[in-house]
Symmetry: C3
Subunit: 322 residues, 3 copies
């Protein structure tokens, strides 16, 4: 951590920004998941809206393009009745030489209440959170390789939904852990919530060697890595890794680390399979697994909206830091 | 048709998707036009909104860019009080190798209620409609050369508005019929609604030879084609046809098939002139006709919003297919 | 002016379009500023919305891209409860050869109530305002080098907020006056509101020689230009001027015309410093001034939202021209 005290919490220990799962207490995570559960049940109603953020302005600041993630935040904010403004940052004033913090100051002066920030640089949302006025809130929608906390939280929601309790679970995270902010967020969340064992599984070129200090077991063989697991989280393999020095080819990768029905049989019979999307069928996961009974990939998406509603309503409801 | 029974109707014969005018019964078309009439009268009110889709999520999925058409659906959905999400598909996950149906599954998992789909491939909206959950609805906003049903319906609304009854009408569709989904939709709608005579008029390179089986009369001469007509529908000439083998030049085309005031005099004195827009003045139609008293091109646009409101509110109000 | 009578006012002298500050009476400007003051105080409320434009459709027509300015109008319109439609004009039908006025006619037929227009051609908003139906309103969001009236008004709001009265003020506008629609709008507004003295300050290549007829004093030396001023408005230096024949380099420019704390000491001790944004730190203004106690650049942004709310609610509330 760059900061002596956690900048995500006010002096009462309440969540005012969501920047990273690292450093958040178990109670905070549980409170978010409990709040999300209320919003999940709302999906069955005729009118899927609540007025919790009515009259508030949510700015989607995507310095890195991600239509999917932006849309999930836009949906969540509109279901909370906020006004949502999508800024195409690459075409805007930052492109004209304005500094990041000048951009933030300007948008804050337009009476922004909440910034959802995606940035290719690790730490950018921290910088923004340190800078904004006390009544303005920041939610990290993915920064560099560092963190993707709402993805981590929706993964925890999904696991809790299907497995109830974390304390006896073995969870394997499979794939390109090196470049994955999702993996980092999942590891922190699982550790905090008390999962019995967290494993990372992948080729030596894609699994950092220094992960054992995070309390995880490292495997370079898929069969060993998923044996006896309750949960298998497969990671997306970025196409741009394929042609580089890190991997021989996507077929080679699939042969060694692609999750097939055969390999999945090594996990517990009731193991669930997760994926943050978008899926590369036949690369990190076989179509038969994606479409099979153990996959909970689409429920993850549904829960993701509720988790983002929970995060936004919680931070917006909490006061300034000391 | 690819399907044995019409996938647009539920077992009670109610409209649950709008994919194509082909195969829809006359009662269904009339019901849409009657519903649209209520929305047209709403335009004069101070507040042009009704809460029929409040809390519903409408996704504009434009795989092919069309700002104009997307805007008309966005306006219609917002006037029904829906939340509208515009997805820039070309920049999103489909560009990352995700399949069309995985994209649809994902968006459905975000609790989409209605997809408005524009696609360059004929049949894409059918594929999506077959795939989605029973409570999700699909409206085709144009697929390949196949169909553009809301344009067809707004054309019918316009004709009915000015001519009251279809049974004595002669309607000429003039121009690039070969590449026009509008022409196809209009022909099906006019036939279903009982127009006395439907004509298509255009050069041999732009009028398919197999149209006579659709119950239309084919003309390759504008004067003959519009003589005695009640309605003249001019089609937009795509610029990209001009430089190809299909047409010599836009000036040549205008000389032979451009609708001028002189040629329009061959139609009935009270004939109306329609165009789906955007207009190429001086190519398929003379400015004097566009700005003249017989043109009803702008009322078409106004009626188009009401027709789209009607379609969305009708499908959203009807239950699942059997 | 191109027009014999002011097309912005109806026969009762009420504002129906905002096209330019030139030609608007002092009472009209004061009425806008007074109305904006009410909206500024609204920013402190929990719900920052009023229903003044509920059910109205506002179209942002940005023929020239400006994410920042578009966002300010979008925020203002949504806080008035309007439905807002952002049209990416460069990708739409105008690109398909449709004329500007055909585009306007089409959007008007979709029941637009208010157009916010940004265009690289001076006069485009006038052309549109002359063309639209009586109940449709036009707000100029910047046209060519001609006018940027809402920026001019928010500058006046800011000056009045800090200085109360215009009659004793000396205001210096510093920088690239030649290419600045902001400068033009400010000069007209300050003259109308009765500022004691308006100065323009800049290199000979960037200050038009014919400005003295507008009632301003021209300075080509920054020290002389800001001596004794109450207000210093610095203008953004467009990067594209730098490499041309007009300016040697941005360092050279900063040495001569960049506003530093030392130079600012020549102005009155309580002088305020303004900038329309986005800022080039170290080009037209030193960071120490931007971040110093005399800068009111961020309040300008806040007031800008309120001013745009005022303009939109005023024009939408006034009837047709005679």
């Amino acid at each position: 951590m760059l900061y002596k005290r956690n900048p995500q919490l006010n002096k009462n220990g309440e969540l005012i920004h969501l920047l990273s799962i690292e450093g958040l207490p178990r109670d905070t995570l549980t409170h978010i998941l409990d709040t999300a559960a209320n919003f999940v049940s709302m999906n069955d109603r005729e009118v899927k809206k609540v007025p919790l953020l009515r009259g508030k302005s949510v700015f989607n600041l995507f310095f890195e393009n991600s239509t999917r993630t932006r849309t999930t935040f836009e949906i969540a904010a509109k279901r909370l009745s906020a006004d949502v403004f999508n800024l195409d940052i690459s075409r805007s004033s930052t492109a004209k030489g304005e500094t990041l913090l000048d951009t933030i100051d300007n948008l804050s002066a337009m009476a922004a209440d909440l910034f959802v920030v995606r940035h290719s640089e690790s730490g950018a949302p921290y910088l923004i959170a340190q800078h904004v006025a006390p009544h303005v809130h920041v939610v990290n929608a993915g920064d560099g390789r560092h963190s993707h906390p709402t993805q981590g939280l929706l993964d925890m929601y999904t696991i809790r939904h299907y497995k109830k309790d974390f304390s006896n679970l073995t969870v394997a995270i499979v794939g390109d852990v090196l470049h994955s902010r999702v993996a980092r967020s999942d590891i922190h969340a699982l550790t905090t919530l008390g999962a019995a064992e967290v494993r990372v599984v992948g080729p030596r070129t894609l699994v950092p060697s220094d992960l054992s200090h995070m309390g995880v077991r490292v495997f370079h063989n898929l069969e060993d890595g998923i044996r006896g697991c309750d949960v298998v989280i497969t990671l997306r393999l970025q196409n741009e890794r394929m042609s580089g020095a890190l991997l021989p080819s996507s077929q080679e990768y699939f042969k060694s680390f692609g999750l097939t029905p055969e390999k999945l049989r090594l996990a517990k019979p009731d193991a669930i399979v997760m994926h943050p999307g978008p899926i590369n069928r036949g690369v990190e996961i076989a179509s038969a697994v994606v479409d099979g009974p153990q996959a909970v990939i689409l429920p993850q998406v549904t829960f993701g909206i509720a988790v983002r509603m929970a995060v936004m309503s919680i931070v917006a409801g909490n006061g300034a830091p000391p």
